[in-house]
Amino acid sequence: MTGQGVVVQGVQRRFGEVEAVRGIDLTAHSGEVTALVGPNGAGKTTLLLVLATLLVPDAGEVRVAGFDPVTQADEVRARMGWAPDVFGLYDNLTCREYLAFCGAAMKLPKPRAKERAAELLIQARLADQADVPVHTLSRGQKQRLGLTRALVHQPEVLLLDEPASGLDPRSRVELRTLLRRLADDGTAVVVSSHLLGDLEELADRVVFVDRGQTVGEHRLDQLPTGSEPRPWRLRALDTDALLAALTRRGCDHDAPSLAGIEVRLTGDDAAAALLAGLVRDGVPVVSCQPLGGQLEAAYLELTR
């Protein structure tokens, strides 16, 4: 743990009539990946713009790497990397030149900027494209280059707005690995995304926002299990025995399919109890898994 991460308290920001952010609280610790999730228009991008020293909030306290993005913008910029959701690249510039320019803009000494560009191109699997003009890159490659740009100065706070959109499955896995590694090295990573499955594997903490407000802030292993029944899928070597046992217990279940039998359970405790009971009954259960993931369930519950 080196840096001070991000602390946001009661941030508000309006655009004319629209109240884009009405009160967001968020804490992102160094060494952790903090996910920012919420429906379209919830104010995620707006919040990230405030953190990235581009927008002045109307109210609230913000600290990025220990500095105030409004009054100490340069200090924040030296320690923060930001990859926007949509961004452009200069035409007629190669990837290597682009990254070298970003390094110069970050006031890295020239040789260091060059060295860093070469390093990052390998990391982003763009080494083969290092000397082609950026506008010929594919969308996913551009996305990777945009993320790479934010890493030029080895920031201690990394703000990513939907970094995985447009990436192929391998790149998404690599992105996860990269972000995990950066976090393990002490970076505070804030990532907004709609890909809950990815986040579930990557994030340490998750902040739910809805209509401009924080509606939940949880460690990923302490997600609210909720009061609503959720679907689980059970599979056994003997499907008939499983079906009989479920019927006997009065469990709300669907007709069996090739994948197994879906049941609706309320909370993890109920699932554990059911599984224990089935095993006691001698049903050869091979798997019992929640459908759609916990994060998705929590998301659906918190953001209505």
Binding site: A52, V56, R77, F87, Y90, D91, N92, L93
Partner: protein
């Protein structure tokens, strides 16, 4: 704002401009047009029976310079008018603003790139200027001053166009407005001066006085004619109207053409002896055009100085040729233009400053 930061931005802008490719054609067309005009001017000067063949360059240089200014005023807006909002549209501005480059670095760097490009255009005219100097009559000092003033004027226009691109969201709007600004500086000043002059009409009463015998002698009137002239003259009082351009000359001062022409150092005027010799020749029916009198920069400069001079000192349009001793107009005009350009640059930097409090309606940051 640091030198390094400005250089980073300017280099980047330059590189992208150069690679865009169109500039070759633009530069080639620019040089071709100016070459053609230089040749045509030279040919037309050759047609004139000039008593003093060593002054041919004066006319060619003057014509060329005014044309360079006119064409540059058309080219420069395109170099800067989409610089900031173009970046915003492409989505490259916000990522630049979150770097450690300050708003001043970005504004000055962009201006340096646009201005520098316009100076490349100017540099391309230097061979033609050298040719004018070979033709004769163009002092080196005049070339230096004219080039400096030209460079400053182009910088002003570039800065104004850049400012519009920072203020307006759409590139098309800022492009059009940049040209409107150029028109305001050129035609606009002329029109407002014309209207202003119309408002200064006044009637005045003057007395025409008779020449004295001594004055007649000085003018070379033969002795036997003098008594009859003196006898036939009666002094009279008359009323007439006149325009007091000396009250509105400043409306014309920011005009780039006026600034440039007036700032060009005047060529040394004819000595009394030369003038006498010429009058004598003309009396014998030998008519020679003095190319210095046809110097476009000089004529324009002298006329605006004449406009600034109050009637009591012999001002007004009448005194065009004799106006060389009148007070200059260009320091005011150039000063105004440069201050305007500086203010535009300051405003550009202000608009680029982040974090932003007020966003123009409907404009997203990124």
């Amino acid at each position: 704002m640091t030198r390094q930061g400005i250089a980073t931005v300017a280099q980047q802008e330059f590189r992208i401009r150069i690679r865009a490719g169109r500039w070759r054609w633009l530069l080639a067309a620019w040089f071709a047009v100016l070459l053609l005009v230089t040749v045509l001017l030279k040919l037309s000067v050759d047609q004139v029976d000039a008593g003093d063949a060593t002054n041919k360059g004066v006319v060619v240089y003057g014509g060329l310079t005014l044309l360079v200014l006119g064409l540059a005023l058309l080219v420069v807006p395109t170099l800067a008018a989409q610089s900031v909002n173009g970046d915003r549209e492409r989505g490259t501005l916000a990522t630049l603003q979150v770097t450690r480059l300050s708003a001043g670095d970005i504004a000055v760097g962009k201006l340096a790139a646009a201005w520098g490009t316009s100076l490349v255009f100017l540099a391309l005219t230097l061979p033609l200027v050298a040719y004018c100097m070979v033709l004769g009559g163009v002092p080196f000092g005049r070339v230096v001053v004219v080039s400096l003033v030209l460079a400053l004027l182009l910088g002003t226009v570039a800065s104004l166009a850049l400012c519009l691109s920072a203020l307006l969201a759409r590139t098309t709007t800022s492009g059009v407005l940049a040209y409107l600004t150029v028109f305001a500086l050129t035609l606009g000043t002329l029109i407002s001066f014309g209207l202003g002059t119309a408002l200064t009409q006044e009637s005045y009463t003057a007395t025409s006085s008779c020449p004295t015998a001594a004055e007649l002698e000085q003018q070379g009137v033969p002795a036997q004619d003098r008594p009859s002239i003196l006898a036939g003259c009666t002094s009279s009082t008359f009323t007439a109207t006149r325009s007091r351009t000396d009250r509105v000359w400043w409306l014309l001062a920011p005009n780039p053409f006026v600034v440039l022409a007036d700032a060009a150092p005047q060529l040394p005027t004819e000595t009394v002896a030369q003038a006498r010799a010429r009058t004598a020749q003309e009396a014998r029916g030998i008519h020679r055009t003095n190319l210095r009198d046809a110097d476009p920069l000089g004529v324009l400069g002298r006329s605006v100085r004449g406009l600034r001079t109050p009637p009591s000192e012999g001002g007004g349009l009448v005194s065009v040729v004799t106006g060389s001793s009148h007070r200059p107009v260009w320091p005011w005009g150039l000063g105004f233009d440069v201050v305007l350009g500086g203010a535009a640059l300051w405003l550009t930097a202000r608009r680029l400053r982040t974090p932003t409090r007020d966003l123009p309606r409907g404009q997203r940051v990124a």
